[in-house]
Amino acid sequence: MIEGLTPKKLLIRIAAGLAVLAAVMCVCALLGTEKISLLKVLDGPGDVAAGNTDYAIFVGVRLPRVVLAALVGAALACCGVVLQAILRNPLADPYILGISSGAGLGVVVAIVCGMNWTFWGVSPISVLAFAGAVATVWLVWFIGHLTGKSQVTSLLLAGVVVNAFFSSVIMFLVSVAASEQLRSTTLWLMGNITEKSPAVLGFGAVSILVGILALFTVAQRLNILTFGPHQAAALGVDPARTRLIVFGLSAFITAVAVSLSGLIGFVGLIVPHGVRLVFGPDHRQLLPLSAIIGATFLVMADTLARTIIAPEQLPVGVVTAMAGGPFFLVLLARYTRKVSWLQ
């Protein structure tokens, strides 16, 4: 009898991963400019008059930010996993395919036009980010299908071209923008996790988690799809339909993530690779574990970003690439036999 991935095995691994994530989130929420202690936090809110400052900081300030980082990390990592699978290319991620820059363009347009008001807690910035991401996916899909036969390559090419074009439009808008708008825009383009209201956070959490769960229902089909459309069809998987589902869901998830946090590169590219190197390419496992490890990674990166030059803060996108790059090289050297000159 051969071993295979069983639901039980997978659940144990997911539970272990979630425990690590919870521990990391807890520790990271305790770190920061203002020193707070876990014991005092555990005392609870205390009576209203005196209050418990440590608890207030932990629950009111740190925790929402850590949760946001975890959500965005999970979202980007999952989108990376599924896009790499349907495009059969390990270089694909929401950033490279232009989905992020489409959302980015939406946000820059909003900021440059001075749309700083909010309506029922929803700012036009998030709405335009979302619209930008969805419009870009449609554009990439449309261009990719115009060019016909080898859809996978043309999708990737279309993504790269759209990404380059939108990036230059963003640069153009930023360079003509008024200087006081410039700093917030630039920060946002480099990836910027800040405190968000519970309502926004709740909306983000529900959409991202539902999106990831929906992606999980096609995870097994993604395994087959990495063998190409003909093999997939011969094994009972509809390649076009699966591709459409995945493309739509990842556009949605990316749009939510980008509207929450700006452009954070690297997570969607690196986390799936790292997880694949260690745990293998089975998407039923790759997807949930990438979500957990992506979340852990971004929580740690964001904590580093807000503590390393405290009280000043770095954009988290700077940290993800600077910390993630070397870490990934170590993984690559450790798990790839071909790289023998590094040992």
Partner: protein, 279 residues
């Protein structure tokens, strides 16, 4: 015997240039058909029509009396398994994982294999002699070993029909014979219908019941079908492939040895010694 595959007046071309024209034949359930012909004759195209990847320009392909395009993709995958020419997947799936994928058309939404699924996969690994690579990634196997993994996957798919595109092209002699023995055994013991595209007419002569010889667009898309013994004749081989062969006879079947101008024994063909066994 009932016809399980019916190809009816099929015409198919790329960009208006027909590759197959008015092709009509049937495959009876539980028989072994070899499809042969020169390069570019449309063998793989025909295979793609037979598994529903391509749609004929005119005419129809019926499986079990039902048009192939009215099957759902999932139903079709429970009816026909396809082994394509060797290739390396993008990600490092192990042999076991690849063979387990055969069970996809039988899985429920969340897609986890049952004990039965794993048992079938284990059996397929065993009979194709790849069980000892079970935990190795595909990229670390030789071309021939990979080919056997894909054949194992087709067996684990548990279908009545098996389509193969040059299944032995990367294999050494032992494994070439091994694969054909295995296919024949599947046909005889389990009643599977086997359709294989092959360049090896000698193996086809030894193992297949029927042969389809495609002449290709250069030769007006002519085609010949019938009992293998009747189709593979020296004259027809020479005409379709454009090469002269030495034809010998083993026991019941013939064999064909192509000899070019500079072959050491080329003179065998030009001299009176040319053998032309009677059919």
């Amino acid at each position: 015997m009932s016809e399980i595959i019916e190809v009816d007046n099929v015409t198919f071309g790329y960009d208006g240039r027909p590759v197959l024209k008015d092709l009509t034949f049937q495959v009876a359930a539980g028989t072994f058909l070899a499809i042969s012909g020169p390069n570019g004759a449309g063998k793989t195209t025909l295979l793609n029509l037979l598994c529903g990847v391509l749609r004929p320009d005119s005419g129809s392909v019926r499986i079990d009396r039902v048009d192939i395009h009215s099957y759902s993709i999932r139903e079709l995958a429970r009816t026909i398994a396809v082994v394509r020419q060797e290739f390396v997947p993008v990600f490092e799936f192990t042999v076991t994982e690849v063979v387990l994928m055969a069970r996809t058309p039988y899985l429920s939404t969340f897609g986890f294999e049952s004990a039965t699924d794993r048992e079938l996969a284990a059996k397929a690994l065993e009979i194709t002699d790849v069980a000892r690579f079970a935990d190795r990634p595909l990229s670390q196997l030789s071309g021939g070993e990979r080919q056997r993994v894909f054949i194992a996957r087709a067996f684990a798919q548990d279908t009545g029909i098996l389509l193969l595109d040059e299944p032995t092209s990367f294999l050494d002699m032992k494994h070439q014979v091994g694969i054909y023995d295995l296919l024949k055994k599947m046909q005889l013991e389990q009643g599977k219908t086997i359709v294989t595209v092959t360049h090896d007419i000698n193996l086809a002569a030894q193992y297949s019941d029927h042969a389809l010889l495609l002449a290709g667009p250069q030769a007006g898309c002519r085609w010949h079908i019938g009992k293998t013994r009747d189709i593979f004749t020296p004259g027809r081989i020479e005409e379709v492939f454009g090469v002269r062969t030495f034809t010998g006879r083993l026991g019941r079947e013939k064999f064909f040895l192509p000899l070019g101008e500079y072959a050491k024994d080329a003179d065998v063909l030009s001299s009176a010694a040319r053998t032309d066994p009677q059919d």
